[in-house]
Amino acid sequence: MISTANRVLGLSMVRRRTRQWLVAGYWCVVGVPAAVLFLHRGRHSFTGFAAIVAIQMLVNLPSLLGGVRAGGAVKLYREVKWAPLLDRDDVQTVFGHATAVPESLHPGATVAKWLFPQEKATSHDPRIWVHELWNRSKPVVAGLIGPEAELDERDRVHFVAYTIARWLALALFAVYLGMGAANSQWLARIGPLFLFVPTLLLWSLPQTLILWTEPDMEVAP
């Protein structure tokens, strides 16, 4: 489950203590600015900036832990085909690096080759662009969860995370209703925070559990 190829922030993820520090740091980095931004949202000049920072946090920080994005401490849960989530050789990344798959594993490239034979195309031929497009959309499988045991473990962790998130969602919903009943003006102020917390939690909780609970890994001699 833990990727030894990706050295997050230059750190080896072999030891559990390192991973636990990473997780603690992650939630501090997420939690403290989120609280500051949201609690001071009353200033009009700040709201747009707060929104952009929060969106950036949600888009970029999960790649620190991995799982849903390539390059993090946890191996990818599944093959990602959506280009912005890929971590490719030609894209500078902040946290990690993963290598592209062999072409034989990428069915799109085979289809493109069959439809548009490259050897017959010239450099100005639009068929070249098709090949380029397929090459750019190659999925990353280095660091992808592979063996059956890891898939079962991934699913088991998601069951635990789901159970925790379910109770938290019910609690948040109850608080949200209570606040709405007490003073509906509060909802407009605090509503985005209430939605931000479960969103970030859903995107990060399984990885957090994996990194926190997996024991120290044995290093190959």
Partner: protein
């Protein structure tokens, strides 16, 4: 997973996947109709909770999973001293209790294969919910950045968040069980 549903004292055979899929579709149709009706009559003011209770009732009577009762075995089996607890008043009134007591833990305990299926269903549901919560969250930020966009809609921004959050919560309660009922193949009779 149980192969039959007991409702109003009648046993309904649910071994066929087609029947289970019909049940899942019926449950989500009823919940969607309730949401629409609650919007038409009260704009979810106070009535949203009724939809929530309806989802809990659907879990208790038909889906199971997080509750004793329904088709899917409890995801987390109850303590041994609670296996043979008498049925509640609702179960007695609707006659949905098992007429013949099940043997000890076989009715509750998931075997290895069922545990793997349970975990896989939760993984899939988790992915779906991760995407589902992004929509209301994105809307809330759009309201901060472009409040004028929310002036022309039929619902206010708060009503839209509330509705989307309610839908996400309904999915939270029902999605893993629905995935299991939808994907599990036809069951064969043992023996």
């Amino acid at each position: 997973m149980n192969a039959e549903l007991v409702l109003f004292g009648k046993r309904i055979d649910m071994a066929l996947r087609r029947r289970r899929r019909l049940l899942v579709l019926a449950i989500y149709t009823v919940l969607a109709a309730l949401l629409a009706a609650a919007w038409v009559f009260t704009h979810w003011r106070g009535s949203g909770m009724y939809v929530f209770w309806a989802a809990l009732l659907a879990c208790k009577l038909f889906l199971g999973g997080y509750y004793k009762g329904g088709l899917v075995k409890p995801f987390q089996p109850p303590r041994p001293d609670k296996w043979n607890m008498p049925s509640g008043v609702l179960a007695l009134k609707l006659r949905i209790y098992q007429p013949v007591p099940q043997d000890e833990e076989t009715g509750w305990r998931n075997d290895e294969r069922e545990l793997i299926q349970r975990d896989r269903a939760h993984y899939l549901a988790y992915q779906a919910l991760g995407m589902a919560v992004i929509l209301p969250w994105f809307l809330s930020y759009l309201r901060i950045l472009r409040p004028q966009l929310f002036g022309w809609g039929v619902a206010t921004a708060d009503q839209a968040y509330y509705g989307l959050t309610l839908i996400a919560l309904l999915l939270f309660l029902t999605l893993p069980q629905a995935i299991l009922l939808w994907t599990e193949p036809d069951m064969r009779e043992s023996g």
